[in-house]
Amino acid sequence: MFISRGVGKSFGSVQVLRDVELEIEPGEIVGLVGPNGSGKTTLLNCLSGFLNPDAGTIEYDGTRLDRLADWQVSRMGIRRTFQTASQPMKMSVLEAMLCGAALPIGSAPVRGLFRRKARAAEQAAAVGKALELLDFLSLSHMTEEPAGRLSGGQKKLLSLGVALMTDPKVLLLDEPTAGVNPTLRLTIADRLKDINANGTTLLVIEHDMGFIGRMCERVYVLDKGSVIAACRPDELKDNPRVVEAYLGAPRPVHVATGVSRP
């Protein structure tokens, strides 16, 4: 249960979010849409602890998140991806995957140095899981490539895989398919459905309304920092505020085409 109440955020004199109310039930796939600059990424940053809101509260399962640091939120099982999925240049895909795992012995410098065997066992388990996930994401052939050299779409897949290493309860995805070729986009959508089927709650920022319509049960629409609609995807085209918000926006076409299922 993910709840935000009255969340507001300003940068200097610019109010980016105002009074955002949001509720996500466990197991849902929720879309977050809105024109460019409407505050979607800022909201996601607030939900994931990368920004602390100026006003309002964010709760997850009864725990306040709005004053926690990014890493604390992540350790609660709420993981996010980024709009630009940068990956390290000097790490292989497999190593990057391991970064997402929790390896308590390997992470402790002194303990890890002395308990070689326990460390190796722990890592072997994680490697097994990483290979499975890479297979699931169709990245098996890239295991030894430098993660930073992958194509944009592959990086998006990889960042999904990295986030999945700890079986998160909630995934906050910032445009998981932007800039990805159509074939790969379908793969990503399918994988996200599978992930959700395994019990992970998803919040997805997307521009592609087709994607939203196919994936989400509910969608929130942000405009100028406020939630202007919360409804089923197919209700969007009938909502005058949404249509108005998108008029003159770069891609109003998506509203029209997006609602109908392909």
């Binding site: 980024f82 402790a108 410098p109 890592q123 700890t166």
Partner: protein, 298 residues
Amino acid sequence: MLDFALYVATIAAVYALFALSLNLQAGVTGLLNFGHVAFFGVGAYSSGIVALHGGHWLLGVLVGVVVSSLLGAVIGRLGRTLAADYWAIVTLAVAECLRLVVVNEGDLTGGPQGISGIAGPFSSVSGLAGSLSWLVLCVVLAALAYLVAETLTGMQFGRVLRLLREEPMLAASLGHNITAEKTRVLAVAAPIAAVGGSVYTLYISYIGPNQLLPIETFLVFTMLIIGGIGNNRGAVFGALVIQLIYAGSRFLKDIFPIPDQSASSVRLLIVGLVLTAFLMTRPEGLFAEKLRRIDVHQ
């Protein structure tokens, strides 16, 4: 000549400790610690002060390890709010403050005179046997430090450090506490340099405040850059190469007819030019950082 070669090799091994320690911070984690000299200063002065009061040399090494680790943690903590280049200047300021305390609190540190006549483990062994014992000790320590650094870099701890060097946001999103990791790597890397400082002090049986000048930090950075930053093997070779260049350049005036009054500035000039030329042509160093393979069939 053999003696001199042994000496150069011993010093190179000691500098390898400094370089490995800095590599964990600057190379692996991307923390430009301009105050690195403070760590080996702590080790050196711990050994010096303990020796001054008649303590066993091992005690001095131990004190240095503990104090430097604490200092490292404190400096790492400072990195919580600071961007990289600002943090670098703060570390420099901390190291300089430490040096000024060393210069001015003569009752404790010997002041500008430093502490001399420090007895080390092989003080009673003279001649070639003594030189060899020192070389073996320092090489063993350097090898040990290399193993530790290599293990730390390869395991999850180091992997996270490398990730937060390259993609700090990604690291945070995966639940890694950047401040804590920075603090930990400094607390772990500092003792390696402190041991180096202790051994160096015991070896040349002297420590003075001039060994804590910022230029010493830059010398170690130079070793890393030449060797290949981010690569532990590079750190070791960088230490060796720089030591060879500095020591070797002393022979320039013996071969070439350089007038005596300009020999030293010419030597410095050549050292500077060699470094510059090297950096311009091979910026990634002798050994570039490589991808780490993970054995999947274990």
